[in-house]
């Protein structure tokens, strides 16, 4: 590991040096001396110098320095592609191929009209489910039969991967290790919100990856994603950079590596082969397949170690995470306020004392002005987690603490007995033409 780290730095060191050199504007003889001195510093520079002298005989100093720089750039790229390969070699022992048998395709329900239409989907209105609190896997994407990717999380047989790989609820799951052993696996727990899953196989003394500390995941760093989803035993490599931090309300970082079903559940590594994060489908909306339409787009997400460790300890203990619901209906078209139209019984909001006509003004101390912002503030909070919501009733604000519920724990929407606040336009909650949007 140190050797590879040192190499990466060495490559960068050479480049820095080369750049300094190429910007030196000096006479040819002096330069030749410099070149001669430089040539002992490494074959890379040696080659560049030889080429520089050779190519530029009789040319002016300007083009000489330019072509030298170009040659150095070229050698830089040659060196760096070797590092990509080394990353793959280093990470390969921790990668596992996951295969599943059985299971159904997710039911196609578009749960968010703001989401872009995935390829091939007919943009016809899909009938809304009878129960507004029914969970929707999202998207219309058909899950394929091919293998998927995971990585060893602990040496005693826990395998970390993405919940995407189990959307079909397969009857059987098997894990193939790099050494060729194929073992039956149990799905210990799944996090449908952060899109992680934990498997367990009967194996001991497995090699574990080294994770990069969270503060070393920085924008602009090289990122190498690996996956086994295209078949075969050799991982596929995709290369890019870390393009943003703190996406998805602080859960994930963003990278332009090609992230797709071919590597969901696989690692996104730095140039020394340390795992910076685990690749997952994600989008700024709920739904287990949310984000799948962004595959290979250059906008991909990975969960860093900090988040993974927090979630993984719960997953190992067998706790699954599900989408969290407040249990109410609102008008998603209303851009001015989040007015509660109806509150399910039972539901977290009802327990907290919220009534139809109340407005939601803040979530966790942050202003929310319309439905979109409410989704943004809550979609990454799983059922069972507490949140602090500020409500407004007749101009008076008050805070309530409530625990988000699973959709299956929500009751039906009661008939509204009380008239709504006269300042709020009444919208019948069960009108078929304008269905009220349920909110997570």
């Amino acid at each position: 590991m140190e050797t590879q780290g040192a190499r990466a730095i060495a490559v960068q060191g050479r480049i820095v040096w080369c750049n300094l050199f190429s910007e030196t504007r000096v006479c040819c003889w002096y330069r030749l001396c410099l070149l001669t001195m430089a040539s002992v510093l490494g074959p890379l520079v040696d080659r560049a110098c030889a080429l520089s002298i050779d190519r530029n005989a009789g040319e002016n100093a300007q083009s000489e320095s330019e072509s030298t720089r170009e040659e150095q750039d070229f050698q830089h790229f040659v060196a760096i592609q070797g590092l990509f390969r080394e990353v793959a070699d280093r990470v390969k022992p921790f990668l596992v191929r996951i295969e599943t048998v059985g299971g159904a395709q997710p039911v196609e329900i578009r749960d968010d009209p703001r989401g872009p239409s995935p390829e091939g989907e007919i943009p016809s209105p899909v009938p809304r489910p009878q129960n507004p609190f029914r969970d929707s896997p999202g998207g219309g994407f058909q899950i394929a039969d091919g293998p998927t990717t995971g990585m060893i999380y602990s040496s005693d047989g826990y395998i970390l991967t993405s919940s995407f790989n189990f959307v079909r609820e397969p009857a059987l799951v098997s894990v193939t290790l790099t050494d060729g052993r194929r073992l039956a696996a149990d799905v210990v727990a799944r996090d449908q919100v952060r899109k992680l899953a934990m498997l367990k196989i009967d194996a001991e003394n497995l090699p574990v990856p080294e994770w990069a500390p969270v503060d070393e995941v920085r924008v602009g760093k090289w990122a190498v994603a690996l996956g086994l989803g295209f078949g075969g035993t050799e991982p596929s490599i995709s290369v890019g950079v870390v393009s943003a931090l703190n996406r998805m309300t602080g859960n994930a970082f963003q990278s332009d590596v090609k992230i797709s079903p071919a590597n969901y559940g696989g690692p996104v590594c730095d140039l020394t082969g340390r795992v910076m994060g685990i690749a997952v489908p994600m989008a700024q909306r709920p739904g287990e397949l949310a984000g799948i339409e962004m595959y290979d787009s250059g906008v991909g997400f990975a969960l860093p170690r900090e988040r993974v460790d927090q979630i993984a300890s719960a997953l190992r203990a067998g706790r699954s995470f599900y989408r969290g619901w407040l249990g109410m209906t609102v008008d998603p078209q209303n851009q001015d306020a989040i007015v509660i139209l109806n509150v399910a019984d039972p539901s977290p909001l009802r327990t907290a004392g919220a009534k139809p006509g109340d407005k939601i003004v803040q979530v966790e101390g942050k202003d929310v002005r319309h439905f979109g912002e409410l989704v943004q503030a809550t979609y990454m909070i799983p059922a069972g987690d507490e949140i602090y919501v500020t409500l407004e009733r007749k101009g008076i604000q008050f805070g309530v603490k409530l625990t988000l519920a699973r959709n299956i724990d929500l009751g039906p929407l009661p008939e509204i007995e009380e008239p709504l606040d006269p300042s709020v336009p009444a919208i019948p909650p069960t009108d078929e033409s304008v269905p009220p949007e349920e909110e997570p």
Partner: protein
């Protein structure tokens, strides 16, 4: 000498216009060796694409598509010169086609049909010489036919390895016209794998190996384009847009250089072996394919039996649980037991009973059967030699 200087400065100018830095070598090399193709547009076929020049006398390799069925296919070189392209060979199995550039005017005057048989054997090359790629080694060739090795490369192209940079050159979205350079996308070579894909609802005929790349190549017009490594060696050709059956995603891939080379070798062999001029110039692998299929079907034994009966109870999708194993059969000898669940057959995942039967039908007459089964909590590999009834 002056000519050389001019050529060098021209090249420098070109590299400066296109790009500078690490990828210029690859880009300049590839740009000079691809042609923009314009042909038949029908349905989803947009009527434009890309081809790779693979000989100084103007042979061009491209993907098999409706485009080349135009009465006259137009090919425009990197210098902006217009040629007609005539089809020399097609390969339905590999989904490749070989074209020959001829002067546009000649094609016009003679009203030559694109499948003309007069091209290949007409003696001296009538166009060129062009810069090209050696189709066997991938080496960029000068118009003279001499290899154009970069200074720092030994006289052998470097072997492509996962993680290596690649640049794909093609006329995606028909952005370039005339002498304008084609479009380039950069990425790395991801992995080499067997293609299992479809176009729309039909399975894609090519089932051989492909180079998966992480550059975005699956764009209209890009197929047929050259995929080169950092040094400018040809490593593959951008394939047609398909959806992978393994991931259900559109993905980016190239037909590997060795598959391209094999196609060209087959074309040559066929040409030399064929007795009549007509046959010699038009190698139609479609025929070969159908003949191969016919013979495969003849040799396929419909009553192939390894002594397994699978579960039949179930709705729509029946999981391939073994219901009965015939005594003394290959399956019994291999140790297969009742209630084993078959997971894969010769490396191919078996999702249900229908899958199993389909895969059994695909087996060659003497091909051994490798089964992976799940028994209780264990996963076992079993091998059996099939018998015939």
């Amino acid at each position: 000498m002056k000519v050389v200087t001019q050529a060098v400065s021209c090249l420098l100018a070109l590299s400066a216009t296109l790009c500078a830095g690490g990828f210029d070598r690859a880009i300049v090399t590839a740009n000079a060796r691809v042609v923009k193709l314009y042909g038949l547009a029908a349905g989803a076929q947009l009527g434009y694409g890309t081809g790779i020049v693979v000989s100084p006398d103007g042979r061009v390799l491209t993907v098999l598509s409706l485009l080349i069925d135009a009465r006259r296919v137009r090919a425009v070189t990197s210098e902006g010169t217009r040629f007609a392209a005539q089809v020399l060979a097609r390969d339905a199995e590999r989904q490749l086609a070989l074209l020959q550039l001829v002067p546009w005017e000649d094609a016009e005057r003679g009203g030559v049909d694109s499948d003309s048989s007069s091209v290949a054997d007409s003696g001296a090359p009538r166009v060129g010489p062009f810069p090209s790629f050696d189709p066997i080694l991938g080496t960029p060739l000068k118009p003279s036919g001499d290899p154009e090795f970069p200074r720092n490369i030994a006289k052998e192209p470097p072997r492509l390895q996962p993680g290596d940079w690649i640049v794909a050159a093609g006329n995606a979205f028909k952005v370039a016209e005339g002498s304008e350079p084609v479009s380039f996308v950069r990425g790395v070579f991801s992995t080499r794998t067997r293609l299992d894909a479809r176009r729309r609802v039909r399975d894609f005929p090519y089932r051989g190996e492909v180079l998966v790349v992480d550059a975005v190549t699956s764009n209209p017009g890009a197929p047929g384009g050259a995929v080169v490594n950092l040094h400018g060696f040809l490593v593959g050709m951008v394939g047609r847009d398909v959806v992978s059956n393994l991931t259900n995603t559109h993905f980016n891939y190239a037909i590997p250089g060795d598959v391209l080379a094999a196609f060209l070798r087959d074309t040559e062999t066929k040409k030399n072996a064929a007795p009549t001029p007509t046959d010699s110039s038009v190698v139609n692998s479609l025929d070969r394919r159908s003949a191969a299929e016919a013979s495969a079907e003849e040799t396929m034994n419909p009553s192939r039996d390894v002594g397994i009966r699978l579960a039949r109870a179930g709705y729509q999708k029946v999981l391939p649980f073994v219901e009965r194993v015939k005594l003394g059969s290959p399956a019994a000898q291999a140790g297969l037991q009742k209630d084993d669940l078959i997971l894969s057959l010769n490396g191919k995942n078996i999702g249900d009973v229908a899958d199993f039967h389909e895969q059994m039908k695909m087996l060659g007459p003497d091909e051994p059967v490798d089964l992976v089964v799940r028994r209780d909590r264990r996963i076992l590999s079993l091998r059996m030699e099939p018998t015939r009834n």
